[in-house]
């Protein structure tokens, strides 16, 4: 199975098609599963978990013929997505400055971030 490690965060759509986005962080290993002729690829992500998960069972109905996959959609953080996110979470210059200060980001860190951005 081909494996890839993400070098960018990805947005994950909620299962109920809500307006929320969930983020898959950078550095996650995706295991290539298959491609569909519709044009999309499917990947598997593995999680470890210790404890109890509130859940309901997913029944294997007869019509599934022994195979059922319920994937989520994942997308790149493109300019349109960023605009939407900033609309939902409008940040002023003061907000950004406060967040930077609160998280201990130095001027040198900021310079590094800006240098790493494409022209």
């Amino acid at each position: 199975m081909k494996m890839i490690k993400t070098k960018e965060p990805m947005l994950i759509e909620g299962p109920e098609g809500d307006e929320n986005y969930y983020v898959l962080p950078t550095g996650v290993t995706l295991y290539y599963d298959k491609s569909f002729p519709e044009g999309h690829d499917r990947y598997i992500v593995y999680f470890n978990h210790k404890g109890v998960i509130a859940h309901e069972e997913v029944p294997m109905k007869p019509e599934y013929k022994g195979n059922f996959v319920s994937p989520l959609w994942m997308s790149n953080v493109d300019a349109d997505a960023l605009k939407k996110m900033f609309k939902r979470f409008p940040l002023s210059k003061e907000d950004v400055a406060a967040a930077i200060k609160a998280n201990g980001i130095t001027k040198d860190d900021l310079a590094d971030i800006i240098r790493s951005m494409p022209d």
Partner: protein, 231 residues
């Protein structure tokens, strides 16, 4: 993309009414005519894997409407080879975005264009409007498309991208489906899937593979396409 154009009667009228002995200025008004375009996404290789199956969608333009209907396994899937699933229709309001998403795969999409009277193009849209009106729910809304969960299931031979596209195209009354048995070679299917498909139900037309439809449209002499676009 090449749009069909019509020269309005404005040009002739301007000539006819020009004052004698004076140069008459003529204005050519270019109006986009209505049309539908059956889109066949060809085979491609992605992530080192060949994708020979192909994909079909239908694009309709009339007046200020420009809509692409793209049906497929965009939700839960089940069955052998993930061959069945939720019936999901993407209704694209941005054709360029649809084409760009296909081109990003390195896939060539061929568009078979049929010029239509406005009423016929509107009838195609009404067909899909009716389908959408039965939706179970909207799964996703983006700037470029809305993703609808429809009742029933995606079925590989009777309710797939090809059959859903052809059902809309047939509303125009054009004999898009012509001698389908002549073209049913199941292009793009591996031998084991060809065998599996023999046990499946078929539509009255029988044709369900995108590349078979492409061959049929190329060979159709009863309702020849008016223009072919390659994206």
């Amino acid at each position: 993309m090449v749009q069909p154009t019509k020269t309005s009667s404005t040009k002739q009228a301007a000539k006819d009414t020009g004052a004698s002995g004076k140069t008459t200025k003529t204005n050519t008004l270019v109006v986009s005519g209505a049309y539908m375009e059956i889109l066949i996404g060809g085979p491609y290789t992605h992530n080192g894997v060949d994708q020979p199956f192909g994909h079909a969608a239908i694009h309709v333009v009339v007046g200020n409407k420009n809509i692409t209907y793209d049906f497929g396994r965009y939700g839960d899937v089940w069955g052998p080879f993930d061959s069945e699933g939720e019936a999901v229709l993407n209704v694209w309001s941005n054709f360029k975005a649809y084409v760009a998403s296909e081109k990003s795969l390195g896939r060539t999409t061929t568009g078979f264009v049929y010029f239509l009277e406005n009423s016929k193009a509107e009838a195609v849209i009404a067909h899909y409007d009716q389908l959408v009106s039965t939706k179970v729910k909207i799964k996703k809304t983006t700037d470029n498309y809305v993703r609808y969960l429809l009742p029933g299931s995606y079925l590989p031979t009777t309710n797939n991208c090809t059959t859903v596209s052809l059902e809309g195209a047939k509303v125009t009354g054009k004999k898009i489906v012509s001698e389908p048995s002549k073209y049913m070679e199941l292009r793009g299917l591996s031998w084991e899937k060809k065998i599996a498909s023999k046990t499946q139900a078929r539509t009255a037309d029988g044709i369900f593979m995108p590349m078979d439809v492409q061959a049929m449209l190329e060979g159709n002499t009863e309702a020849r396409y008016d223009k072919k676009n390659v994206y």
